[in-house]
Symmetry: C2
Subunit: 986 residues, 2 copies
């Protein structure tokens, strides 16, 4: 019969790292074979295509022999491989070591209630967590809309004129606020006053940041300090916390007037939930309002990731850091969202940057926005009233048994003096611990208690009875708890204005509607669930399910960042192991996970270098050499660390101009602090002179900062230490598989050589390093700790062998593509052996003249082929930077190359005059469905040619939802919203 | 400034069951407000629109007063409401009461390893779990393709000619096989031989089924039994298990020849994983091959849901039960998948049905198919070799310390005689329990041990050491475990033929590729994430995330159905509470969750009725009255239960012809067994005569079977007991929010009056009821136990109040739609007050004459409007049956009505001759993108009119991926692949 006797597949897949089981006892779910796209057979095909008969021969030609490391440095002995199920079991076991105490610590962190529909359909949905930053708005309208919801929510609750689409956390947002205040006085006034009610972690980050900018930070009771004329004349701004760290809601109206009359700005750190009941800062005179939006449905996650919010008055909008989404129009006049970069300072050519923010917290901002959509104004008000009401009940109950509330006003926090009842705070903390709850530790006499949405009546009762027990009073029952009659907020501070009236916040309240809204938005966005996203310098690889799963387990997600160390042993094992593995991989001595992004890592690394120089009495070293090809965050970070940026020339092929480096290093040798360099370079070049370059710096007293964004090219082959660096950051959201989340979260750990280790950042609440440590760079001691789990799982599941194989295949994939495309496009760089690194730079300059085509035209046309365009116009304005990563199969690489080659043919038609220069498939790209649905069709090509230029598109195509968004509205050609070296070099 | 001073929303949502918090201590995450679509405001708008000023007045007119129940029967006292987080906590606590023993019990159930990418992106993805059965192939190509993968996988591994798209479980699949064998001899031969190596639960289900059909079941060693001539002459078939229950792999080649020469069919129950190493049944003469495919990545789930597979030879394909997907073509000639019903017996007019299968196990079949796609032939072989290898290691190790393996051949199972070493099996079971493992309990002397993919080397060692300890031998270490050199399968029984050579099983092996394949298929299918699916009689309501989440927790998903009761206390609480709540809701005394679908519930209920009659010495009662309007499964189930179907007339308005009922009941009074009736009727009618009808039956000695598919109209208002029934089934996958899974799973519990309770089905391995119980109707004691969690959560979260409100809003939504549509379409039925029940039947007959339009044209055109069509041509060929459910908001109802009304206008254009009868938007519907992308456009309407007939479609539209699939290939007008009463009435 026809169906019988099936033949075997001609070939079955057997990946580089997947051999037939050699042992019956080796696990069947080894991760490398699932992570790495090409199999053995494909790899040999690709090697053959580029002229090699072995991987080793190819690597010899690709990675400079001088910097190669021993094959034993990163292998399965140094980093053993766990299978997917082994990793799962290990994560479960470690999760079990985190003790699930109920937290009343507060201090800006709360146990969020994540609406299940958002948890599963946003946070756990690869369609939401794998996309890139929405630089290609035609294929990103979904999350752009959601980010606009986020901005709107922040504006509405704060009553401010404009808000951005998130910053890294509350503390760094406060630092951005301070710097804005400083620059608003043209750096003439150096005093920034911080009220003593501000969160300690915010203060620590301000201290670090003030140092770099030379700001004079004064921490005092703001009201009294403002009476001093000396302070007033040098005042650039004031930061207040509303409600403050101890829970008080203070009326800052007079203070705001006083600051304004002194010529400073009012910066207010606040809480979005409280603002649903409190008079919003925008109504009492704040100029800048910021905070953490995590309370809106984002898990505590031992510190993050969370979206910091940031809103300003209209007058300040052009100075605001971070990404801003705006409403615009496409070529047909249809309304469309896009990144509005042009209004903000980083995109205005200026001598100095004030912010380096690039990766932000898009995914978490989207979760918070969805929370507001789901609850709406009425729901948010109910939640706020409950939180406030529980606080009232608690406060009365403990007051009744003798405790003394210190704050007269409050929203959700009570600071109690316990000494008269309990003797010391310790007695209360011990009783609390015995009951499985954490309170805020303030001092010997006082404890803090903060309520959140997650507290149940039973929790409340249990908490109250911790206090009654310590007071030797009789325990209460539910029946004893009296409902307050009215909120206890002073009437002058009660909110009277409305919020969130927009339709989007008032219709998706049934789960069905919410589900559909979430999926409808997701359907507009291209992500890794659709096709390869070959973004040079961004390393969009597989974000595996098995590395994502533990993240949303409560044992990891529901942990307060200031929980006592003995409750977070599981987390600490994860952090320690990841730090150790990153050190093995980079060749360095120590690491910190505190920075929340690559740029934050750069900044932290430079601060460490400065501290090192300072420890040697060389605080005057303040020059930072940066090649012109550097990513814009490099010079921005240098400026923030108080360094003077000096540019170093780059050869047209991407290599550093060593002579120029030598000259500049010598010229600045007395003040040389650091050299920042990306390796392989931003051109995708393994420069053979890297060690020489580093030697030049060291010889002139400087330290080498290696930007590790391109580490994916290196693992197991070379490492930053061997290249000559002293410190590097890694983008865990690139090389180590944390998903990009549509523009964040990120983690930017830094790894340092032994001599820099003492200076790694500490934390004011949970000190993490020794006494030479610099102050905190992020709000949480371990930054966005929860997602470190992803990279930990990634490293453990690949093991040393898989990590090395990944880098090799990443190099092979890029070189295969270079080979396929090079007959058709101008490859900007190859080494002497004809090899590129893990990415390739193609130059489209020629088409401007020959066909009137710009990079953007090629990029938009790629959308029609179902692909997200590669990085455009960076690091060279006329180029595309293509990085396939190891996770893409040969078939997918070929599909992308086929598309690029077909587009080249389309360009040829224009060059030879077969198609007009001003009305062709590239210039008119992308073509959404609405374009071909129109009755009229006046174009010199068919609808078929417009939308199905290659046959594979008939089966699988991603459709842009709008046509090209008018260039006049923005700078879509930028990689990140960060300035170039030239713009920044002073 | 412009952004300040936002005004409040004009109205904010406040659902029927969501009032502002009356108590500070009531939870904020009450479920009813999320589940029910319309809010208070919308509800009053709708009531006003249909002429009422109160809900109660509306209900008075809608539900016959005589059958109304007290408002205290179903309220928050009788069924208290849990909030979403309270339910979560309760589920966690109950999960904690299930003890996670490692199971080696086997017997057809295994601990599956679900690939994480499939777990998260299929099983936990609403895009996969919320769609309906793919009766509308143009918007279901994704899961149709996946089901074809499933069929192909089964065919390839079994080496059979054709396979269906799943049955309910292995035992019912075996029963279907037996019945096919019986009918293949035209019911002339009544002996069906079951080999003693068959699983006990299969045997139990066969016993139940044999009884109904009057089959003579002989359980013997098949080989020896076949020597008896008497048996041979009456033989219709033989069932063998391969490998058998004790693990032996027997060579059935000679047996098959012998059966064939006797004129019977060979039915083989088998294991897909074993078949990757064993000579497949298709190669040694099996005619029918079946089993459970759950081992391919579907969790054990305490018994299910799992996909039973079923494959046959080409000669039998037209007799095969269940759904079959085939490849076909659309109007443009593009290849497309669809349900190929016409080749199978249920759709051939015949006097008697032999199967009632309707809801099957699509979601689980898709998971199993995706598992095969992910692993491919090489991966599956590795898994099989590991399982077999571990079995070899275990067997040698325990043999070495004195245990006696009884089976000479084996794949994954060893039956050990332990008496010489351990005295009795009990000693071994106690030692096993102490080590946290379960073994198969056989008898005093023997234990069974079965291996699966999930067993780690450490597990294996621990298991071996249970046996060494009992034997007082020294414990082994990993170093003692010797890898076998070669498989231990007799060479004559080794597989030599290839399997799964098809490209789909040989390319999606990286996680990235797998992820993209899963999402690509999902992108072709409409589901509840897109828009309302108003399928009459199918109740497509919200499948809430919070009810789905516990399902994939290991404490519920990784439990073997034969685990000792003391290890499953959590499950038993869930089952008991759900049964009790269903009894409160139906007014009955007892319930069982064993049936795996509504149809299986019908069958079980009728068997219970028969057992009841038998207990009273009235086994002759064998007539079943069924109205002509009944769902096709009703008569099919009756036939299976050995009943003679007698049809009862129905008035054109849908009401039962009580006179005819009376006449038939009296005519058959001596033999009247049962009356089956759906309430509200399949016309969407609350017949006021229901109690009279039931009385007629009771007066004539019959029992009333109430088909509860429409229970969603009743809760808190009336109940099946009050209506006069003795037994009813409920479709938990309709009323109780188990998602439809694209065609299953389902749960069809039956609830019975006290006099029937003693007869509820038991189970041979885990007896669940008293000694009058009928034999099992499903393989697992509690059927698809894991998904009962969903309904349990649903009931608990709505509470009595929310359940009642849901029914009220379901009625209101349907009546609102009836009102909006009635000016435009002919409403087939309204009661004397002008009300319909929870669904409405519109008759499109008139358009055939006036415009040449059939129901299908309207249905396909609805696809162009982004909607899944309602139930078509059932229960009346010219009608659509529209059921909105309570979860849809007024906005969505309006959107659907707008679409219907616009289509009516389009029809008008044809009627008045503005558009041609043979070439118009309805006849040409649906219009996929490819249709409007064509260069040519010869249609008498524009592309815009074709695809964007209403403005909302510009923002949100679901695109069919193919054009209409040729009618000549099938029966798209059927509701389920089940025969009508007329076809079945004998
Ligand atoms: C070379 C390089 N350095 C630094 C960064 C900044 O990293 P992040 O976006 O995480 O701040 C990037 C980001 O694209 C980069 O490509
Ligand atoms: C009235 C009625 N009865 C019975 C059934 C059969 O239920 P199931 O598909 O779960 O077997 C259905 C299914 O649509 C139905 O509508
Ligand atoms: O994510 C979705 O597949 O909709």
């Amino acid at each position: 019969s026809t169906q019988r006797g099936f033949y075997f597949a001609r070939r079955s897949r057997g990946l580089a790292t997947l051999k037939p089981q050699t042992s019956l006892f080796s696990p069947l779910d080894a991760f490398p074979e699932r992570h790495i796209g090409p199999d053995d057979h494909e790899a040999s095909q690709m090697l053959a295509k580029i002229g090699y008969n072995s991987m080793e021969a190819f690597i010899e030609d690709t990675v400079p022999p001088k910097i190669r490391i021993s094959t034993t440095t990163v292998n399965n002995s140094s980093i053993p491989a766990f299978s997917e199920s082994q990793l799962h079991a290990r994560a479960k076991a470690l999760g079990g070591q985190n003790k699930p105490f109920k937290s009343y610590i507060g201090m800006g962190y709360h146990a969020a209630v994540v609406p299940p529909v958002i948890l599963r359909n946003v946070m756990e949905n690869p369609a939401w967590y794998t996309p890139y930053t929405p630089y290609q708005p035609e294929i990103a309208q979904g999350r752009l809309e959601s980010l606009v919801n986020y901005q709107t929510m922040v504006m509405s609750l704060t009553s401010m004129d404009i808000a951005n689409a998130s910053l890294l956390d509350e503390a760094t947002a406060a630092a951005e606020g301070m710097v804005m205040a400083f620059f608003s006085t043209h750096q003439k006034r150096r005093t920034f006053l911080v009220d003593s009610g501000v969160l300690p972690q915010t203060l620590a980050v301000l201290r670090t940041r003030a140092k770099g900018f030379g700001i004079n930070l004064v921490v005092r009771d703001a009201k009294s300090a403002l009476k001093e004329q000396a302070l007033r004349t040098d005042l650039c701004g004031v930061l207040v916390q509303y409600p403050d760290v101890n829970g008080s809601i203070r009326n800052f109206e007079a203070l705001a007037e006083s600051v304004h009359s002194a010529g400073g700005l009012v910066v207010c750190a606040t809480d979005l939930l409280a603002l649903s009941m409190l008079k919003p800062p925008g109504e009492w005179g704040a100029d800048i309002v910021l905070g953490n939006s995590a309370r809106f449905g984002v898990p505590a996650g031992y510190g993050g990731p969370h979206a910091g919010f940031f809103a300003v008055t209209d007058a300040l909008k052009r100075k605001m850091p971070g990404r801003l989404i705006g409403r615009s129009r496409d070529t047909t006049g249809q309304s469309a969202y896009r990144l509005s970069l042009q209004t903000r300072e980083q995109h205005i050519r200026r001598e100095k940057a004030t912010s380096n923010i690039c990766t932000s917290q898009a995914l978490l901002a989207n979760m918070a926005a969805m929370y507001a959509v789901y609850h709406g104004p009425a729901g948010i008000q109910r939640i706020a009233k409950k939180v406030h009401g529980f606080t009232q009940v608690f406060r009365s109950a403990v007051e009744a048994v003798g405790y003394t509330p210190e704050n007269k006003t409050f929203f959700d926090t009570v600071t109690l003096n316990v000494s008269s009842v309990a003797g010391s705070a310790d007695a209360v903390h011990s009783a609390a611990a015995a009951a499985g709850v954490n309170l805020r530790r303030i001092d010997d006499a006082r404890v803090g208690v903060t309520f959140d949405e997650s507290v149940s009546p039973e929790d409340l009762l249990a908490l109250i009875n911790v206090f009654t027990t310590v007071a030797s009073a009789s325990s209460l029952t539910m029946a004893n708890l009296k409902q307050p009659e009215a909120p206890a907020i002073p009437s002058a501070l009660q909110r009277t204005s409305e919020y969130l009236p927009h339709p989007v916040f008032n219709k998706h309240h049934s789960e069905t509607e919410m589900l559909r809204y979430i999926h409808h938005l997701a359907s507009k966005d291209i992500s890794l669930v659709h096709s390869m996203i070959a973004l040079g310098s961004c390393t969009m690889k597989l974000n595996s399910t098995s590395s994502m799963i533990p993240l949303t387990w409560p044992e990891f997600s529901a942990v307060h960042p200031f929980a006592p160390y003995d409750q977070v042993k599981g987390y600490h094992t994860v952090i320690k192991e990841l730090e150790e593995d990153l050190c093995k991989i980079t060749g360095f001595h120590s690491a910190t996970l505190q920075p929340n992004s690559g740029a934050a890592g750069e900044y932290a690394g430079l601060c460490v270098i400065r501290a090192y120089h300072e420890s040697r009495g060389e605080q005057h070293r303040n020059v930072c050499l940066i090649p012109l090809s550097a990513h814009g965050t490099n010079p921005a970070s240098a400026v923030m660390a108080g360094l003077k940026v000096v540019s170093v020339q780059v050869h047209p092929d991407g290599n550093l101009d060593l002579a120029d480096l030598q000259a500049k290093a010598e010229k600045h040798k007395d003040n040389l602090a650091a050299f920042m360099v990306t390796y392989p370079s931003t051109f995708g070049v393994f420069e053979s002179g890297i060690q020489d370059a580093c030697k030049i710096i060291h010889d002139n007293g400087g330290q080498v900062y290696l930007d590790g964004a391109n580490l994916n090219a290196q693992i197991g082959l070379t490492d930053p230490a061997t290249c000559g660096g002293d410190v590097c950051h890694l983008n865990l959201h690139k090389t180590f598989a944390i998903p990009h989340g549509g523009g964040g979260p990120g983690v930017g750990p830094i790894c340092v050589a032994e001599h820099l280790a003492p200076f790694l950042p500490s934390h004011p609440v949970m000190p993490v390093k020794g006494d030479q440590a610099i102050d905190a760079v992020s709000a949480a001691p371990f930054g966005s700790a929860s997602i470190a789990l992803i990279s930990w799982a990634y490293v453990k599941m690949l093991g040393g062998q898989g990590l090395g194989d990944s880098s090799k295949i990443a190099l092979l994939n890029a070189n295969y593509m270079a080979s396929r495309l090079s007959g058709h496009y101008t490859l900007r760089y190859k080494n002497e052996k004809g090899r590129v690194a893990h990415e390739l730079l193609i130059d489209l300059a020629e088409f401007d003249k020959s066909a009137g085509l710009k990079v953007t035209d090629f990029a938009k046309r790629l959308q029609d082929y179902g692909f997200h365009p590669p990085t455009c116009s960076w690091p060279i304005p006329t180029c595309m930077l293509i990085e396939p990563t190891e996770s893409e199969t040969l078939e997918e690489l070929d599909r992308f190359c086929d598309a690029m080659i077909q587009i080249r043919k389309e360009a040829e038609d224009i060059i030879v005059g077969k198609q007009p220069r001003d009305n062709n498939v590239l210039r008119n790209a992308p073509h959404p469905i609405s374009a071909i649905a129109s009755t009229e069709w006046n174009r010199p090509y068919t609808r078929q040619t417009a939308v199905y230029p290659l046959p594979y598109l008939l089966e699988k195509k991603f459709w842009p939802t709008v046509s090209r968004i008018d260039d006049a509205y923005g700078d879509i050609n930028l990689v990140c919203d960060c300035p170039s070296v030239e713009e920044l070099a002073s």
